[in-house]
């Protein structure tokens, strides 16, 4: 019974990821990073991520809630999601700290030598973790896309441009997911 309830809770949480808004937000982040590097405008990422978050909230309110309703997840699940995000941030911070330690630090030299691999691994890993946590298979594809966009930048192009292409691809995929969601779930009108 406890297992069944956990499955139900997870299914409900996953259902709210089927509207494509998190896909588009993720794509927008990749696009923002790409444009920031490509155009060398430092504040662009912050501005685009903030706008993307606001758009995601508005989208949920206009598209998702009228179709499948509004829910408040249990605090334990919310805490789990916060812990997941915090873990990724702490991991990034630890690597950054290692990177900052003394000139002769071998770890620093190793990180510097393989910088792109580390960026790709952290970013791709974070998206793969989200895919695992919410059981969304298409997020694994995004993780691979971002991973290769970063790691192949040495071989096939400029880092910024690769991320722009990956970001646009993820946004388009998110749009398709949203259209499918809209078709599958008509607006429920009535009491609310």
């Amino acid at each position: 019974m406890v297992h069944e309830l956990k499955v139900l809770e997870r299914r409900i949480a996953t259902r709210y990821m089927e509207d494509g808004f998190w896909d588009m937000y993720l794509g927008l982040m990749a696009l923002a990073f790409g444009l920031t590097i490509f155009l060398d405008v430092s504040y662009l990422t912050g501005v685009m991520v903030a706008i993307g978050y606001a758009l995601q909230r508005i989208g949920k309110s206009l598209v998702t809630f009228p179709r499948i309703g509004y829910i408040k997840l249990r605090k334990a699940r919310k805490s789990g999601m916060v812990a997941l995000l915090s873990g990724v941030l702490v991991l990034g911070l630890m690597i950054f700290m290692l990177f900052m330690l003394g000139e002769e630090n071998p770890v620093r030299a190793f990180v510097l030598q393989n910088m792109l691999f580390f960026i790709a691994f952290i970013w791709g890993g974070a998206i793969a973790l989200a895919a695992l946590s919410f059981n969304i298979k298409r997020f694994y594809v995004y993780a691979l896309l971002v991973f290769f966009a970063v790691i192949l930048s040495d071989l096939v192009g400029i880092l910024g441009l690769n991320l722009i292409v990956a970001g646009v691809m993820i946004i388009l995929a998110g749009l398709l997911v949203m259209l499918r969601f809209i078709r599958k779930h008509p607006i429920i009108s009535g009491l609310d």
Binding site: K6, I68, Y70, I71, L191
Partner: protein
């Protein structure tokens, strides 16, 4: 199971919570048990009940003290949010334990 115990267990079906035992209310209780709250649109889309039936079942649960109905504003839009009360959470746990006991 010895005959005495079997008849005792069957006899004790009487003490099962009748408010939760109806299929529609059981579905609602189960959904609300895994959430901190949900609006009527969500409950309707998950259970497939009609608005009328949903309202009646939510009212029954509210009268029993198992759920709390609130009007909340989410992004400036009103939502009728139903959540399980403490009493409702305890009752659902007791109900599921009792059912498992009977079926095992």
């Amino acid at each position: 199971m010895p005959e005495n115990n079997a008849s005792k267990a069957l006899f004790s079906l009487d003490d099962i919570d009748r408010v939760i035992h109806s299929p529609a209310r059981l579905m609602l209780m189960k959904l609300l048990y895994v959430l901190d709250g949900a609006d009527m649109v969500f409950l309707k889309s998950e259970t497939g009940l009609t608005w009328g039936n949903l309202s009646v079942q939510v009212k029954n649960l509210e009268d029993a003290g198992y759920v709390v109905v609130d009007k909340e504003f989410v992004d400036n839009k009103p939502h009728t949010v139903v959540s399980l009360s403490k009493q409702g959470r305890v009752a659902f746990k007791a109900y599921s334990d009792r059912l498992r006991e009977i079926l095992s």
